[in-house]
C-alpha cells in the first residue's frame, strides 16, 4: 500500500478534508503533518512517504514544501513553485501574461498613487491566509472601484505593511467561470460573479467543457507548475476569457465527488 503524506494546517484538517481522508485511507496509508505541530529543521526531513499532498498555503507548509523538494526525491502536489506562484498574485500575473495567457491588465502601486485603471479591482498581493475576498464597491464619476478589505489590511496592517496595492483592470462579465483541474481532468462551472451575488454556490452550475477554456487552463497550469488548481475567468464583451485568479489549494468539496476525484488523482500520481 502506498503512503501519502498530507501537509496541512489545523483549519483545513478540521473543516475541509473529512470525506477526502475517509476515502483516501481506504486506498493508501496516510501520514499527516500538521503545520501547527510540526517542527521543521534540516535534520527532520526523512520521510517514508511516496508522495506529498500540500493542502494549504501557510508559511511553514510552504517552507516544508521547499525543503522536501530540495532535500528529497519525493514528489509534491503541488510543487513549491506552483504554491509560491499561486500565493504571489503579482508574480503569477506576470508569468501568465508573459506566457501568452490573457489576464486583466495589472499594476502594483505605492498606496499614495492612484490606480492606473478607471475601473478596477484592488486585490491582496500575497494570497496566503484563509479569509476570503471582502469587496468594498464604490461607484464614483461613472467608474467602478472595488477595494478588497484584505488588501487594505495588508497595506496598512499590523503585520505586513506593504504600503502597496495590486490593481487589476475590471472586466465586466455576465458569468464567472470556474475550472477545477486535477492533472488533465478538468471540471467546468459557471456562476453569477461574486460581486453581484456574494453567495457563489447559490448560482453555481456545472457546464459542458469549453474547448477554449480547456486550452487556457492546461497552459496556465503548466506555466505555473500546478497539478491541482482552480482557476477563475471572466468573459469580456468581446467574448474573450480573462484569467483573474488561480488557487493551488482548491476546495474540492465544491464539486461533485470532489473528495474521491482528489484521492484517486493522488493514488494515480503515486504510480507515475
Amino acid at each position: 500500500m502506498k503512503n501519502i503524506g498530507l501537509i496541512i494546517d489545523r483549519f483545513h484538517l478540521e473543516n475541509k478534508v473529512a470525506e477526502f481522508l475517509k476515502i483516501l485511507k481506504k486506498k493508501a496509508k496516510v501520514s499527516i503533518y500538521v503545520e501547527e505541530s510540526y517542527l521543521l529543521n534540516k535534520d527532520n526531513l526523512n520521510f517514508d512517504v511516496d508522495l506529498f499532498f500540500v493542502k494549504g498555503k501557510g508559511k511553514l507548509m510552504v517552507a516544508m514544501a521547499r525543503m522536501i523538494e530540495n532535500e528529497t526525491s519525493i514528489p509534491l502536489i503541488n510543487s513549491y513553485k506552483g504554491i509560491w506562484l499561486s500565493i504571489n498574485r503579482f508574480m503569477n500575473s506576470l508569468i501568465l501574461k508573459k506566457g501568452g495567457i490573457r489576464v486583466p491588465d495589472f499594476s502594483l502601486n505605492p498606496s499614495n498613487c492612484k490606480s492606473p485603471f478607471p475601473n478596477y479591482i484592488m486585490k491582496n498581493i500575497i494570497d496566503q491566509k484563509t479569509y476570503s475576498f471582502k469587496p468594498n464597491i464604490l461607484r464614483e464619476d461613472g467608474c467602478l472601484k472595488i477595494n478588497d478589505e484584505r488588501a487594505i489590511e495588508e497595506c496598512n496592517g499590523i503585520n505586513e505593511k506593504y504600503q502597496y496595492f495590486y490593481y487589476q483592470k475590471f472586466i465586466k462579465s455576465k458569468w464567472e467561470y470556474k475550472v477545477y483541474g486535477f492533472g488533465d481532468n478538468l471540471y467546468f462551472y459557471k456562476q453569477i460573479p461574486v460581486l453581484v451575488n456574494p453567495n457563489k454556490m447559490e448560482t453555481r452550475r456545472e457546464i459542458e467543457e469549453i474547448t477554449e477554456l480547456k486550452e487556457i487552463v492546461l497552459k496556465a497550469m503548466k506555466l505555473l507548475d500546478l497539478k491541482v488548481a482552480s482557476l477563475d475567468f471572466l468573459k469580456s464583451n468581446e467574448d474573450q476569457y480573462y484569467l483573474t485568479d488561480i488557487n493551488s489549494t482548491p476546495n474540492f468539496n465544491y464539486i461533485k465527488d470532489g473528495p474521491k476525484i482528489m484521492a484517486d488523482f493522488l493514488i494515480e500520481q503515486t504510480r507515475n
Binding site: S37, N41, K42, R66, L94, P110, I126, Y162
Partner: protein, 263 residues
C-alpha cells in the same frame, strides 16, 4: 553610450545616493526608485538597466522580476537577490555550495517548546524574510520564547566564536571582525584574510556568479569550523577598508556586466 539607469532602493542616500552620483558623473541618467515612487507597470520599461540595491520582495524584488521579464537587465540578478533575503533559500544556497550553516528550527512556539531541550540554547531569533541584524535577538531559554508575540518562529543555533563580515568586490576580499550580532555599520577590525575564508568566498562567488556582496562567517571556538550565518547581495560596504572606493569599484563592475549582457 549613455544609459538610463534605475536604482531600486529603500533609501535615496547612503550607498544608493553615491552610486547615483557615480553613474551621473559618467554621463548616465539615473533615477532612484523607492517605495514612494516605484510603480510596477509599463512605466518601468523606459530604463535600460536596473540595479537591485534593496531586496524587499514588495516592491523591489517584484520590480526586478518585472524588468527581467521584459528583457531589461537587473544587477545583481533578481532571483539570487531574492534568495539571499529568504532564510530557507539562503540556507539552501549555502548548503548547495557545500558550505556549513548552523542548525535551525522553524515552528510555532508550542512546537519549539515541545521538541527542544535546555541544552539547545542559546538560539537566535531571526525574521524569515530578512538579512542583516534587523529583528535578530538572542533567545537564552524557554521563558524568552514565551515572551515573543509571534505565531511562528525561525530560530538558529547561536555559534560561539569569532564573528566576521567578509566583503567581496570583484577579486578583492575584505575580512572584518565584528562584535556578534551587531549590524554592518558597527565598528569592525580588519583581519588578515585566511586561506579558509578566501576559499569560502571564492566558492560562494563562483557558484552563483556574483560580482560583489558579503558573507557573515563565524569561526566556531570549539571546533574551528567556519559557518556561514548570513549572506548579503548588496551591502552598504560601510566597513570596506581594503583599498579603493567601493562605489566606483561596484559602479564600474555593473557597467562592465551590462556591456557583457548586451553583447
Amino acid at each position: 553610450m549613455h544609459l538610463r539607469i534605475g536604482i531600486l532602493s529603500k533609501r535615496k542616500g547612503y550607498f544608493t545616493g553615491k552610486l547615483k552620483n557615480f553613474f551621473e558623473s559618467n554621463g548616465h541618467n539615473t533615477i532612484i526608485y523607492t517605495k514612494e515612487n516605484l510603480c510596477i507597470n509599463e512605466s518601468m520599461l523606459e530604463n535600460d538597466l536596473y540595479i537591485l540595491k534593496s531586496k524587499h520582495q514588495i516592491p523591489f524584488v517584484y520590480a526586478g522580476f518585472y524588468a527581467e521579464s521584459h528583457g531589461i537587465p537587473v544587477i545583481p540578478n533578481t532571483d539570487i537577490s531574492q534568495k539571499h533575503k529568504d532564510r530557507f533559500e539562503a540556507y539552501l544556497l549555502i548548503k548547495n555550495a557545500g558550505l556549513l550553516y548552523p542548525k535551525w528550527y522553524y515552528g510555532t512556539p508550542q512546537t519549539i517548546k515541545k521538541n527542544l531541550k535546555d541544552k539547545d540554547f542559546p538560539l537566535i531569533l531571526k525574521p524569515v524574510s530578512g538579512s542583516g541584524s534587523r529583528g535578530v535577538k538572542v533567545i537564552y531559554n524557554f521563558g524568552d520564547i514565551e515572551n515573543l508575540n509571534q505565531d511562528i518562529l525561525y530560530l538558529e543555533k547561536y555559534i560561539e566564536g569569532t564573528h566576521y563580515t567578509v566583503y567581496f568586490i570583484g577579486d578583492k576580499i575584505c575580512a572584518m571582525e565584528k562584535i556578534p550580532l551587531k549590524n554592518e555599520h558597527s565598528e569592525m577590525t580588519r583581519r588578515k584574510l585566511s586561506k579558509e575564508i578566501k576559499q569560502i568566498i571564492m566558492t560562494w562567488k563562483n557558484q552563483y556568479n556574483l560580482l560583489f556582496g558579503h558573507l557573515d562567517i563565524v569561526i566556531e571556538k570549539k571546533t574551528h569550523k567556519h559557518l556561514v550565518v548570513d549572506p548579503g547581495s548588496f551591502p552598504e560596504f560601510s566597513n570596506w577598508k581594503c583599498g579603493g572606493d567601493p562605489v566606483s569599484l561596484i559602479g564600474n563592475l555593473i557597467l562592465e556586466e551590462y556591456k557583457k549582457l548586451k553583447n
